[in-house]
């Protein structure tokens, strides 16, 4: 169980596609508790390798004051939200459909603030062939 009740009404929830201690959300919510959950059913279902688990764990150790849990992601977060009277969960955008599913589920219970991915090109329409994508956006990609 968490050691103490944080005073912040917000909680930063890191997902495996956004393990960046320097992320803007960490700066914007400097006082918020920082949480990561190893989703055990998902690790087992996808047969995730130990190398990836270790990489994620090592990346998490770089994040000051991180609290790492294992369990079912949404259930763990809902428990923390209740224990700490959290009113807002802050996280990062990912196309990962599993994580998006958790985000949607969480949103039914708490306000969710999602920091978008910063992309070099903001046109999000995706022609089915990379050659077409590149012809359209090459100049933007190669310009600072």
């Amino acid at each position: 169980m968490p050691q103490s009740t944080p005073s912040s009404p917000s909680l930063i929830w890191f997902n495996e596609d956004g393990l960046n201690p320097g992320h803007q959300m960490v700066k914007d919510y400097a006082d918020a508790p920082r949480v990561y959950v190893f989703d055990v059913p998902e690790l087992q279902r996808q047969k995730i390798s130990k190398h990836r688990v270790q990489f994620i764990y090592e990346a998490l150790l770089e994040i000051p004051s991180i609290q790492i849990y294992q369990g079912e992601t949404v259930a763990v977060l809902l428990q923390l939200i209740a224990d700490w009277a959290i009113r807002e969960v802050v996280t990062t955008e990912t196309p990962n459909h599993i994580i998006r599913g958790w985000q949607n589920e969480l949103q039914r219970s708490v306000a969710l603030t999602t920091y978008p991915d910063i992309f070099p090109v903001t046109d999000t329409t995706s022609p089915r062939r990379f050659s077409r994508y590149w012809r359209k956006h090459e100049r933007s990609w190669l310009t600072l």
Partner: protein, 275 residues
């Protein structure tokens, strides 16, 4: 139901971390070795500093060539595509810079397609361009275990299992071997590789497998002996010449693999065999 993990372990003591994680997650297959890829942004930045971008343009397709090996850090969000793009464009302008940014573009493209399609990318996005209806739906054990009997493929599988990483060209060889030479569904192969890769993400991984399979491209990706020797010969052990499945011209290979359903464009390299 909910258990908190320790955070007081020293990042430098990776063996102790491995032991601890094995005790917390006893269902994980014990890798026995430590991956050379240390997790975290600091390790990613260190790797970026040692990356010799100027060599990338000419060497990137060779298994022993200079590549960034940053995909674990990008996939896990420790480094962002945009900061890598900006870093590259601040280097002296060269073909290497443009090729590196082009490859970042591929990653972004896959990401966008996944964002738009969602979990539909786990199924064929298009009709395959070669017959695949009879492909095996589960991964054969000899592929999972790296005991196919083909030393080159077994070596790639071993590298993947021991390090959690593979050079992009090696991923393409393995995917092509699994799907086209062994007639296994791309999804079974993609799920398997996803589970082993530190940088496993559905966008780059599953869409690349679909690209190799021809369900997200105009043709199947195949390779022959000549290609394997050229780009991977210095890294891989030689394969026995007898019964070598790769030792054909592309035209002959396509005929063997697809029975005339797909004919590659002439390469101008007639033999495709050991030189």
């Amino acid at each position: 139901m909910m258990q908190q993990l320790r955070t007081d372990l020293e990042l430098a003591d990776r063996a102790a971390i491995a032991t601890y994680l094995q005790s917390e997650f006893p269902f994980l297959e014990d890798a026995e070795t430590l991956s050379p890829y240390v997790g975290g942004r600091a390790a990613g930045l260190e790797r970026l500093q040692s990356f010799q971008l100027e060599k990338y343009g000419k060497q990137r397709n060779f298994l022993d060539g200079e590549v960034s090996r940053l995909s674990p850090y990008v996939s896990r969000g420790c480094l962002t595509l945009e900061e890598l793009r900006q870093w590259a464009l601040k280097q002296p302008r060269s073909r290497s810079v443009e090729v590196f940014v082009f490859e970042l573009g591929w990653r972004a493209f896959f990401h966008l397609v996944y964002g738009e399609e969602g979990d539909r990318i786990l199924q064929d996005l298009e009709e395959p361009k070669v017959p695949m209806g009879q492909h095996q739906r589960s991964l054969p054990a000899d592929i999972a275990n790296g005991t196919t009997g083909i030393p080159s493929m077994d070596t790639l599988i071993q590298i993947l299992r021991e390090t959690g990483y593979l050079h992009n060209h090696a991923r393409m060889y393995l995917a092509s071997y699994v799907v086209h030479f062994r007639k296994v569904s791309w999804r079974a192969g993609a799920d398997w590789m996803y589970s082993l890769l530190i940088d496993g993400d559905f966008a780059s991984n599953h869409l690349s497998w679909q690209w190799v399979a021809s369900t997200f491209s105009t043709k199947p990706y195949i390779f022959n002996r000549e290609n394997l020797e050229r780009y991977a010969g210095s890294v891989l052990p030689g394969d026995p010449k007898k019964g070598d499945p790769f030792n054909y011209s592309y035209e002959a290979l396509a005929e063997r693999l697809f029975g005339g359903a797909y004919t590659p464009e002439p390469t101008g390299r007639p033999t495709g065999q050991y030189q």
